[in-house]
């Protein structure tokens, strides 16, 4: 304690206190920023990453019957080895003609539950809240606000390939 109270006027004491308060608060804010910002950036990074896409082989062209709608599985673009089986995505694939395919996302456009293809009725039905879609993906009944989303499909070197994409959020186009 070098300065004794008598040697300093009350006002300079107040100044000093004020300064030290500001110093402490300022430095604390700095500490806080230094601690949190890297973590926040780390956690938020996936939100701002550009969507990745990749083509995935589904199977040989001749494995698919014209007019049939079948469920297919493929690995999405996530390359984390620890995703395991959760790196898979599914789709409903229909061979429309010799060289034309359509692939529907299995996610119901209502709240994302997996829709089922009911062959005899030619309908996609959702188990969650009763959404129903026609074979072209248009809404037939229930709460879904939009037709089923589609994946891009192509035929290359005798293989059917599908282009991965993100989960079709109903309001994707709003952001």
């Amino acid at each position: 304690m070098s300065d004794s109270p008598e040697t300093r006027s009350p006002s300079s004491d107040e100044d000093r206190r004020g300064f030290l308060t500001k110093l402490c608060l300022g430095l604390s804010a700095l500490i806080g920023a230094m601690i949190t910002l890297p973590g926040v950036g780390f956690v938020l990074a996936p939100v701002f990453a550009r969507p990745k896409q990749a083509w995935r082989k589904l199977g040989k062209l001749d494995e698919y019957e014209v007019g049939k709608t079948v469920s297919v599985e493929f690995k999405d673009t996530i390359d984390q080895p620890w995703a395991g089986v959760t790196a898979l995505s599914g789709a409903w694939l229909r061979r429309v003609s010799e060289n034309e395919f359509i692939a529907f996302s299995i996610n119901c456009r209502h709240l994302g539950c997996p829709v089922n293809w009911v062959e005899d009725a030619s309908l996609f039905m959702c188990p969650c809240h009763g959404g129903v879609y026609y074979e072209d993906g248009e809404v037939a009944a229930g709460p879904p606000p939009e037709p089923l989303a589609r994946y891009t499909v192509r035929v290359k070197d005798g293989f059917v390939e599908i282009e991965t994409s993100s989960v079709p959020l109903t309001t994707n186009d709003q952001v």
């Binding site: 599985e73 984390q80 030619s122 188990p127 709003q174």
Partner: protein
């Protein structure tokens, strides 16, 4: 003095247990604080169960998309006592949600949130929502097909937030799809973030109880007046109060003992919820369903007209939270006795009824197509005519029975068809099936003319007058209104 006594004295002196903690435990509480008051401490006790069993589970559970499911299978089937610990964690969660809600209802009915305990209530409301968040994230950590699809639903809901919704759901999923990062995120939220908030919230909540004292049982002749309340409260406590420990605390302890015993009993005899199929997001044969305390919300979501949906999905939790939070700001003085507060009583009754009704509704899921319907048995078909018989088969194959019920067979989404032959004639049925209608798809493109007529033939046999079975309804009878 014995050795043990000496050790205790040392600990007591250095820690201040007798000086600081004991007086807190012995703070004076109203004498009439009886069995009504045990729910808060029981909620805390349930939280302690959750922490202990949760820590235990986390020592084996692997929070990774590839291995979480396998580790849970191991915990449930192979690990020593794993079945029990998982069961306790599950029933503890149920207990915590239930007790928090009961505790809150009691506080609301007795208006204990009024002056000076407004902040007790507000911190409690925040805690309630954190607890619900724990329940929800915990369900995802089960990481079976149901868990994975619940993330998907959560992401879709979050995506409805205007402007930033897409970002929020990508944040939840940790990317564009549900995969490796997703589970890790929910794990971190479930074991670090939310429990941290609960610890802090409980600390504040308890501190506020010590600061303002436990409220008395409401009396009709003792309305709260902030000017005089504290003085009168202190005065009454001085005359009739009793130390919390152990005179009032014994009831809390007895109730918590029973609660823990029930949880343990359920874990032993009923066991943890069974794991669904493996979490393959490409598996379309999943039937996502939340844990029971969210069934009511599930029911609400399926009954809403699409235009309102976004507002409800986002508005209900937010308005609910704000509404509850500001209760003490709306009125923090005046009567506390339920007999003087009919609106409060009515609110509780309406809320509880709505919860029960919607929960039952959510469980039955009458709005969902029933994919497992069996073909109609001969005693229901009641006909030798192959045409009609085939019509009955078609009714199932074409999915009609998923939604419509015939004599107890089939789903409940659409109107029942048991006596449809009395309501609609051939022409009307054909139009109905071909064109569809409100919430019914059109089947024009998926039925041949022959199939259609067989189906209609069968439907026309569905009447109240079995004698007229195969006869067509006479066309001069005016058609009755369609459902």
């Amino acid at each position: 003095m014995t050795m043990l006594g000496k050790i205790w004295n040392w600990i007591d002196d250095r820690s201040g247990f007798s000086d600081v903690v004991m007086p807190m435990l012995e703070h004076v509480v109203p004498r009439d604080a009886r069995w009504w008051y045990v729910f808060g401490s029981a909620t805390l006790c349930a939280f302690i169960i959750q922490v202990l069993t949760g820590v235990a589970l986390a020592m084996v559970y692997v929070p990774g998309g590839d291995a979480a499911y396998e580790s849970l299978v191991y915990i449930t089937n192979d690990a020593t006592l794993g079945y029990l610990v998982r069961g306790m964690h599950y029933y503890g969660a149920t207990a915590m949600v239930m007790l928090a809600v009961i505790h809150m209802t009691q506080v609301f009915l007795h208006a204990s949130y009024k002056y000076p305990r407004e902040m007790n209530w507000m911190s409690g409301v925040v805690l309630l929502f954190v607890v619900l968040g724990m329940a929800f994230t915990g369900q995802l950590l089960r990481w079976d097909a149901n868990g994975v699809w619940s993330v998907m639903v959560a992401a879709e809901m979050a995506a409805r937030v205007p402007f930033v919704g897409g970002y929020i759901s990508q944040f939840l999923m940790g990317g564009e799809t549900v995969g490796g990062s997703t589970l890790s995120r929910f794990f971190a939220i479930h074991v670090f973030i939310l429990p941290g908030l609960i610890f802090a919230g409980v600390g504040l909540h308890l501190w506020l109880i010590l600061r303002h004292g436990i409220s008395e049982m409401p009396k009709a002749d003792q309305p709260v007046d902030p000017e005089t309340y504290k003085e009168q409260y202190e005065g009454r406590l001085e005359k009739t109060g009793v130390p919390f420990w152990p005179i009032a605390a014994w009831r809390d302890v007895v109730f918590s003992t029973i609660m823990v015993a029930v949880i343990l009993g359920c874990a032993i005899f009923v066991g943890p919820p069974s794991l669904g199929p493996a979490p393959n997001p490409a598996n379309i044969h999943a039937n996502p369903m939340p844990d029971w305390y969210f069934w009511w919300y599930f029911a609400v979501l399926s009954m809403l007209p699409p235009e309102l949906e976004t507002y409800v999905i986002l508005g209900m939790p937010i308005l609910g939270a704000i509404g509850l939070f500001i209760v003490p700001m709306l009125s923090n003085r005046g009567h506390r006795a339920p007999s003087k507060r009919p609106w409060a009583v009515a609110t509780v009754i309406v809320g509880a009824t709505a919860f029960v009704v919607l929960t039952i509704y959510g469980y039955r899921k009458p709005w969902s197509p029933d994919f497992d319907v069996k073909p109609l048995p001969p005693e229901v078909v009641r006909s030798d005519d192959p045409n009609i018989q085939h019509g009955a088969v078609l009714l199932r194959d074409k999915g009609c029975l998923y939604c419509h019920n015939v004599d107890g067979f089939g789903g409940y989404r659409g109107p029942e068809l048991s006596v449809i032959g009395d309501r609609l004639d051939r022409g009307e049925l054909v139009i109905r099936i071909n064109n569809g209608g409100y919430n019914m798809p059109s089947f024009a493109s998926s039925l041949t003319a022959e199939e259609l007529s067989q189906m209609v033939d069968f439907l026309l046999t569905r009447t109240d007058h079995p004698s007229a079975e195969t006869e067509e309804k006479s066309s001069d009878e005016p058609p009755r209104g369609q459902q």
